[in-house]
């Protein structure tokens, strides 16, 4: 049996809009992933802890509040502290194009902005996880 890929979909920060996170979670479920959803308003610490306890291959961060420049690098930093930098981090939400290079520089592997298809997200994860 091929290994099931486990993904954490997380809502960091203070915005309370998780329609996007739920749509992506559902689409990934239908693509055969096990998706652990954190619920709203999680700190980077909680997210990294969840990712480790759930042994996920990737974390998808959904953010609409504009705090991505702070929160995404913080998640990556915490993963490093836990020796878990092999866990892939990707993001989605309202993220201005000009912020994307710096986020990638910080270690975010992909950013999906409005209009991205769920299939493209699934393909990215499969490729990034070597499946």
């Amino acid at each position: 049996m091929s290994k099931v890929i486990r993904i954490l979909i997380a809502k960091p920060g203070l915005d309370g809009h998780d329609r996007g996170a739920k749509v992506v979670s559902r689409a990934l479920r239908d693509e055969g992933f096990e998706v652990i959803y954190t619920g709203l308003r999680k700190t980077p610490e909680e997210i990294v802890r969840a990712a480790i306890e759930e042994d996920v291959s990737a974390i998808g961060l959904s953010i609409l509040s504009g705090a991505h420049n702070h929160i995404f690098p913080r998640v990556i930093e915490l993963l490093k502290q836990e020796n878990a930098e092999d866990i892939i981090v990707f993001g989605g939400g309202i993220i201005p194009d000009e912020d994307i290079p710096a986020l990638k520089e910080a270690g975010v592997k992909a950013i999906f902005t409005p209009g991205a298809t769920t299939a493209s997200i699934a393909d990215f994860i499969r490729e990034a996880c070597g499946a």
Partner: protein, 389 residues
């Protein structure tokens, strides 16, 4: 990625959450790695003494929220609490949304709660196949109690019974009238019933109806605002002290299944002469005579209701039946009990230290698989176990 399993387990035991989590994944993914983890744990001589508390109930009854509250209550008393929460996997894609974490409050610095979500990956019964193994890994790493939350269940997913010392069935008001409370299935497996959302109208009535038909304690709780949680924790603690042993006993009763007295073996000098009595006086007709060379014996079966009499005549002066008669005279030589699975029965008896004459089954008259238990272990009776296909 290839992980060195010995090292992984060692790190997990030393407190690495990441290694612990990886061990659970190996167990969950099955195959050779899962077996290897099992072997390492076995070598540690795991005792399986951690409390395993199961929570089950219909979808939306508040299991996850209650798990969260219970975990916090146990953790506050200084326990390291493990949680395994199962949600359904898609029968179509194999994927799953594992959403039980949503109900967890932020982890505190002073308590240790390890939460793991699992898809049931097609297993029936409300759990995943890896639940028990994952619980063993958590226990080895010092987690006690371990809370196991099933998928939202209907009426008959009762697998949790086999894995938990105490089963909490979470109920909510408004799911039906009292006829629901006397149905078989999930309502029979609860050691304690938690009527959640007790602030809702109708909660009193639900609790009342359950109390009327169940002997198990019924506790009213509100997982949301914490009402009744303390009482529930107390009830669980009381129950789990005795439950473990009771369950173990139940399990062992379940493993081997005896069906009926198959036959009574009677040692006779001559089958022909004895038939004069059984056939002539009692009207019990013999059905064929067979020789079992290995036992140096000739056998006649006399069906008598659901069981049979077996007349045994020795074919040689040094056969076991001849020796029996020499010592005791004619008479009842052995009693045979039919079992559903003789190999399993022998294995279980051996495990329990029962003396066996035959450790593996052999051929017996009438095409049965048979084995003898030593009279020393059976109150002086030569006991035969037999299985008939």
């Amino acid at each position: 990625m290839n992980w060195d399993i010995d090292k992984l387990v060692e790190d997990a035991l030393a407190g690495s959450r990441r290694s612990l989590s990886k061990c659970i994944s190996l167990v969950e993914n099955g195959g050779a790695d899962a077996h290897a983890v099992r072997l390492v744990l076995d070598k540690l001589g795991q005792r399986k003494t951690a409390k395993r508390i199961g929570l089950t109930g219909p979808p939306g009854s508040g299991k996850s929220t209650l798990v969260n509250k219970l975990a916090e209550a146990f953790a506050k008393d200084g326990n390291r609490v493990g949680i395994i929460a199962v949600d359904p996997s898609s029968p179509y894609s194999g994927g799953a949304i594992l959403g039980d974490r949503v109900r967890m409050d932020a982890p505190s610095e002073t308590t240790d709660i390890f939460f793991r979500s699992m898809g049931n990956r097609g297993a029936a019964g409300g759990l995943s196949d890896a639940c028990a193994g994952a619980a063993d890994v958590l226990e080895a790493c010092g987690y006690n109690p371990i809370l196991i939350e099933t998928v939202g269940v209907g009426q008959s997913e009762i697998e949790i019974v086999r894995h938990a010392d105490v089963v909490i069935v979470v109920m909510v008001p408004g799911l039906g009238d009292e006829i629901q409370s006397i149905k078989a299935g999930i309502l029979e497996i609860g050691d304690v019933f938690a009527v959640n959302k007790c602030d809702l109208p109708g909660a009193d009535r639900t609790a009342h109806e359950l109390r009327a038909v169940l002997s198990a304690p019924v506790v009213m709780v509100s997982a949301m605002n914490g009402e009744g949680i303390e009482e529930l924790v107390k009830t669980i603690s009381l129950l789990s002290q005795t439950a473990r042993q009771k369950k173990l006993l139940k399990e062992s009763e379940l493993k081997m299944k005896t069906l009926k007295i198959d036959h009574v073996g009677i040692a006779v000098n001559s089958i022909e002469e004895s038939l004069g009595f059984y056939e002539g006086m009692l009207g019990i007709k013999a059905e064929g005579v067979e020789e079992v060379a290995e036992q140096k014996v000739k056998v006649a079966f006399l069906p008598c209701g659901d069981s049979e009499l077996e007349l045994l005549e020795s074919t040689s002066p040094d056969g076991p039946v001849a020796r029996f008669i020499e010592k005791n005279g004619e008479g009842v030589q052995h009693i045979a009990i039919r079992v559903d699975d003789i190999e399993a029965a022998l294995e279980e008896l051996k495990e329990k230290g029962v003396r066996l004459i035959d450790e593996t089954p052999r051929y017996g008259a009438g095409g049965a698989s048979i084995a003898f238990v030593h009279p020393k272990s059976a109150g002086g009776v030569l006991l035969e176990l037999c299985e008939r296909k």
